[in-house]
């Protein structure tokens, strides 16, 4: 199994979600995140005091998949999340040792 993690622009969440559903993914976890890469932040002004806000709002999506699907799924996410402008985010995958469905106790790929 692999854990695919994607950090994307918030407004691309719907596209990525639909693409994942079309691909056949049964479930995912979404977290509101903040961070920066090459995009960096923006400037805000409050009564003359200027702030540089480094951390930009992002959405973090996590999906568990079988090994065979991992590579293709990364491509699906990348395609759905891309706008071509700076700050589109990153997608990566890591191996997963074990997964258990809490309700039934099913393990491994059966739990996905």
């Amino acid at each position: 199994m692999k854990l695919i993690t994607a950090v994307i622009k918030p407004h691309r969440l719907d596209e990525v979600k639909e693409a994942l559903q079309a691909f056949g993914v049964h479930g995912l976890t979404v977290t509101e995140a903040s961070g920066y890469g090459r995009q960096r932040g923006h400037t805000e002004v409050y009564r003359g005091a200027e702030y540089t806000v480094d951390l930009v709002p992002k959405i973090r999506i996590e999906v568990l998949v079988e090994d065979a699907d991992a590579e293709q799924l990364v491509e699906v996410v990348v395609k759905a999340a891309r706008t071509g402008k700076i700050g589109d985010g990153k997608v990566w995958s890591v191996p997963v040792d074990e997964a258990v469905r809490v309700r039934t106790g099913e393990r491994g790929p059966d739990a996905l």
Binding site: S34, G41, T43, E44, V45, Y46, R47, G48, A49, E50, Y51, T52, V53, D54, L55
Partner: protein, 483 residues
């Protein structure tokens, strides 16, 4: 305003004045409008602080509604508006406890009952110390603040209100024009803020850590409600509507405030590149402050000028704290002191004569006489409030310590002082669990045994898990400040 700004013609006929239901009804509404300014101020200030101390900011204003109300009944009204003693202070036995006042007894020379005047003036006394709290955001003990309010209104506000508005008060007799509180309220509060800051000092991280407003919508709500309430503050200060002066004050309040907002926004756009929400709210308040003393003595066009000047000067003044390194957290000095001084002095230029009083300003052929009087009022109230407020703050600091501990400040005053969290965003709720209910203890017959069993537990345990949430949500750092 109170007695002395009456023109001679009106005061000669004073004995014949009868109770006016119209004026009385209007003044009751105006009183309620001024009352709403203190909660409005709480929101205006509350939105500007960080999440971890918003409740404390709200409470610093709200507590004034309790404390000053009680003091006002006991002795405050007597000190401010009792019979004059030496032009410095009032004192009337009948006013102690408001106990010797007849139901339909009229306020001297006016068509409204003393009770209505006392209630109206009470709202001013509540608002003024609350204004000071903006300078002290995020770092003072709540009990110390409460003690300071008690001392401050007693030694500073009640006497200064007498000087400016009381019959026989020395600034009043001198002919200083202050229609609704440019000196007594705004310069007074702004100078006090500066005096207290010498004792209390800066927030941890001032000029280094990010201190962005946590909720600008709350700031806008507060500014809007202040604007609304200010019509009662200004137009009500004529205590009636028999001669049109109250209507002029009402209109000028709107005009100067709109112009000041434009002035602040224009300055900000040129200087910093954006029309900010906080700038619009701040500009409006600066205009309200500046027109407060002047709304009964200038024309609508004069109000536009006063508004724009106040908006621009206050927008410039809020940068001074970075230059001179004092942490006037929410710009009480920059907005209320500077706005109050601007409005009070500009009367010396823009007073048209023939409205509130016959005094004319420099631009209307009155020479420098009125400007001189205004300057005396400004300087005397400023210095008195600055010095005495510093001393009172020092006393509070020696008695109980004015500031919270460093740990409490970093975690947020909300938890240290009020044992509450402002916003529960759901989710994990910070790991909160209910450890004791508020059900009555044994013997009350409530039958809530679970509550009784839990009596031995300590309530604050539920607070421990929430501190991480309170500190989060500000992913930026102060980069550059306007000096």
């Amino acid at each position: 305003m109170p007695p002395g700004i009456l023109t001679n013609a009106v005061s000669l006929s004073a004995e014949k004045v009868e109770l006016s239901p119209a004026n009385t009804g209007f003044m009751l509404i105006a009183t309620a409008l001024v009352m709403v300014m203190t909660p409005a101020l709480a929101f205006f200030y509350g939105g500007m602080v960080r999440v971890k101390s918003v409740l404390n900011m709200l409470m610093m204003s709200f507590i004034s509604l309790g404390l000053v109300t009680v003091l006002w009944v006991l002795y405050g009204f007597s000190l401010a508006f009792g019979t004059d003693h030496g032009s410095l202070i009032g004192w009337s036995g009948d006013y102690l406890g408001l106990s010797g006042i007849g139901l339909t007894e009229l306020w001297d020379g006016y068509s409204i009952p003393v009770y209505v005047f006392a209630a109206f003036q009470l709202m001013f006394a509540i608002l003024t110390p609350a204004l000071i709290s903006g300078a002290l955001a995020d770092r003072v003990k709540f009990s110390a603040w409460a003690l300071f309010i008690v001392l401050w209104v007693t030694v500073v506000y009640f006497p200064v209100a007498h000087w400016v508005w009381g019959a026989g008060g020395w600034l009043f007799e001198l002919g200083v024009i202050d229609f609704a509180g440019g000196t007594a309220v705004h310069i007074n509060a702004g100078a006090a803020a500066l005096g207290v800051l010498f004792v209390v000092g800066k927030r941890i991280g001032f000029k280094k850590d990010p201190m962005r407003p946590h909720s600008l919508p709350l700031v806008m709500l507060g500014a809007g409600l202040l604007w609304f309430g200010w019509f009662g503050f200004n137009a009500g200060s004529w205590l009636g509507n028999d001669d049109g002066v109250g209507a002029v004050a009402f209109l000028n309040t709107q005009v100067a405030t709109g112009a000041a907002m434009l002035g602040w926004l224009a300055y900000e756009k040129l200087r910093h590149g954006s029309f900010t929400t906080l700038g619009a709210a701040s500009g409006a308040v600066a205009g309200l402050v500046a027109i407060t003393p002047a709304c009964g003595s200038v024309s609508p066009l004069g109000s536009i000028a006063i508004g724009i000047i106040a908006g621009v000067l206050c927008a410039m003044a809020v940068g001074l704290k970075y230059k001179f390194n004092y942490d006037d957290s929410l710009d009480v000095v920059g907005v209320h002191l500077v706005g109050g001084v601007v409005g009070s002095l500009l009367i010396g230029f823009f007073a048209t004569g023939g409205v509130q009083s016959d005094a004319k300003g420099l631009f209307y052929g009155g020479g420098l006489a009125q400007l001189g009087k205004q300057s005396v009022g400004v300087v005397c109230v400023l210095l008195y409030s600055l010095v005495i407020s510093f001393i009172l703050a020092k006393v509070v600091d020696l008695v109980m310590g004015f500031r919270v501990s460093e740990d409490e400040e970093l975690a947020g005053v909300d938890q240290a002082a009020h044992a509450e969290t402002a916003y529960d965003y759901g989710g994990t709720g910070g790991g909160t669990s209910l450890t004791r209910t508020a059900a009555p203890a044994a013997g009350s017959g409530s039958g809530d045994t679970s509550a009784q069993e839990a009596q031995g537990d300590t309530a604050p345990a539920s607070q421990a898990g929430t501190s991480d949430r309170a500190q989060g949500g500000t992913p930026g750092k102060a980069k550059k400040v306007d000096a």
